[in-house]
């Protein structure tokens, strides 16, 4: 077949983004608002040893990824529950083509939000010491996280009963950054929460980004972060492909 199904699906998803700008707007607006609120409004009240904007930016980059996920889960679920995926299946369109379209659209939304957050961070005085390779590392980790989160979100979206529950299902992913070292160091938290924050996947990712931006990357953090991302991506991918095949 001369026409690539993947390209057709991706074009459809990108068209959705341009037709439904509110979902992109929300994905960009929320992390920017969080950035302004925590850094510009409350930032001086935190003492974390460094300039607060330098401390908070890595966590905000993570939030920029997470806030886009609700719309992705809702979109995938509505494709499933409204019979659109069934239609594609009876036309012999592969799960790979349909789902990859959603993944790329999700990553694109994330990249727009990340660019916005970085822009605001620089405006608020972000002063990284990252070398060119460190920046490449930042880009790599953020991209990896974005792809992993997209596959996992798509799996949740395919699994959920309705678009509403799909939107709710990603809420833990949106909340998780608050219980990590994104806003304050984990060792300043109360017992229980402190251990949770230390070991949950987002903390290692945030610490990796923090190290890279400061020009002092930590290899343990980096390996842990990559391992978490790969694990989340693989679980999401396998789960999504299975749901796609099984659910009719």
């Amino acid at each position: 077949m001369s026409k690539s199904h993947s390209a057709v699906m991706l074009r459809r998803n990108v068209k959705h983004l341009t037709r439904n700008p509110t979902s992109v707007f929300n994905a960009v607006l929320m992390p920017v608002v969080m950035m302004l609120m925590f850094v510009y409004m409350l930032g001086d009240a935190f003492s974390v040893g460094v300039d607060y904007v330098d401390y908070a930016t890595p966590g905000m980059l993570l939030m920029a990824v997470c806030y886009g996920l609700g719309a992705v889960a809702t979109a995938v679920n509505s494709d499933m529950t409204k019979g659109i995926i069934n239609r594609f299946k009876t036309m012999d369109v592969s799960g790979g083509a349909v789902l990859t379209g959603h993944v790329i659209a999700s990553v694109l939304t994330n990249l727009i939000a990340i660019a916005a957050v970085l822009g605001v961070a620089f405006a608020l005085g972000l002063s990284p010491n990252a070398s060119f390779t460190d920046w490449l590392g930042v880009a790599g980790i953020v991209l990896l996280l974005s792809i992993a989160a997209a596959w996992f979100t798509i799996a949740l979206g395919l699994f959920a009963k309705s678009p509403e529950t799909a939107g709710m299902a990603v809420l833990p992913l949106v909340m998780l950054p608050f219980f990590s070292s994104a806003l304050v160091p984990a060792d300043k938290m109360g017992p229980g929460l402190k251990q949770f924050a230390e070991y949950q996947p987002f903390t290692s990712i945030i610490e990796t980004l923090r190290g890279l931006l400061a020009g002092t990357p930590d290899s343990t953090d980096t390996i842990t972060a990559i391992a978490w991302c790969v694990a989340i991506a693989v679980i999401g991918y396998v789960w999504a492909r299975r749901s796609f095949t099984k659910r009719a």
Binding site: V8, G83, T90, V93, A248
Partner: protein, 312 residues
Amino acid sequence: MTPSAITVSGLRKAFKDKSVLDGVDFDVPAGTIFSLLGPNGAGKTTTVNILTTLMKADGGTARVAGHDITADAKAVRAAIGVTGQFAAVDELLTGRENLQLMVDLSRVPAKDGKRVVADLLDRFDLTEAAGKHASTYSGGMRRKLDLAMTLVGNPKIIFLDEPTTGLDPRSRRTMWTIIRELVADGATIFLTTQYLDEADQLADRIAVLDQGRLVAQGTPDQLKRQLPGTHVRLRFTSGAELDAAARIFPDATRDDEALALRVPSDGGTKSLRSLLDRLDEHSLSAEEFSVHTPDLDDVFLALTGHTAEAAK
């Protein structure tokens, strides 16, 4: 003999331990309309899902367009078009873009795409709305677009799962006309419906599905012969009146709970007049009088001994 478009034998499917299809057999000759009739939950959509390769059967065999649905699913998909129970249109795309999407995913050569889209828009009266987002379409328009999308690539066998559920009477008639035209062009239609009149209007053969089993199969005329037929329903105010009326109409069936009597009748003025005259002769008067033509409920009552409602 005409070749079969669809042959199904001993089809079984269970979800967890609940049996949904329990040994279903039928045969659909090419170029005909076959209607699977049944209430919600009878197993109609499951049958469609299995025959369109969306779901695997637990047992039995089925061939669609001559291909085995499990061994040769790809060949089956290439021969069929499917319109599901809900209009599966992309609401963020326009009508034209929805059809173009189908062209891009189908085997239609890219150079013919524009013409195929324009022809379908024209045929379904959607040219005027072609540039509007499908989210602004009425229910009837969505259904039409949905069906038009199914027809991209000229499938030989078309599955329609409750194509008129939720449509207003006019849109329903339009849909019926379209379905008849498809068969006139040589397609085979597999249609599910909850409406007896729809199956009666369209189908060459009807199979009645109840709790995963086919309880009857035949032409609409053959099925109607098994039905109680048209009758007059008389409702009385007291049991004594019902008793008296039951004595003068010995072939009637009584419903003690509703204090009603069903008297067989052809519904013509002559037989109705004589029925009323006999009531008069015995100085009886009914509280309510209605002429009743058989519907799905009667089919179920006649074939299964329970109503469609109770089958849920």
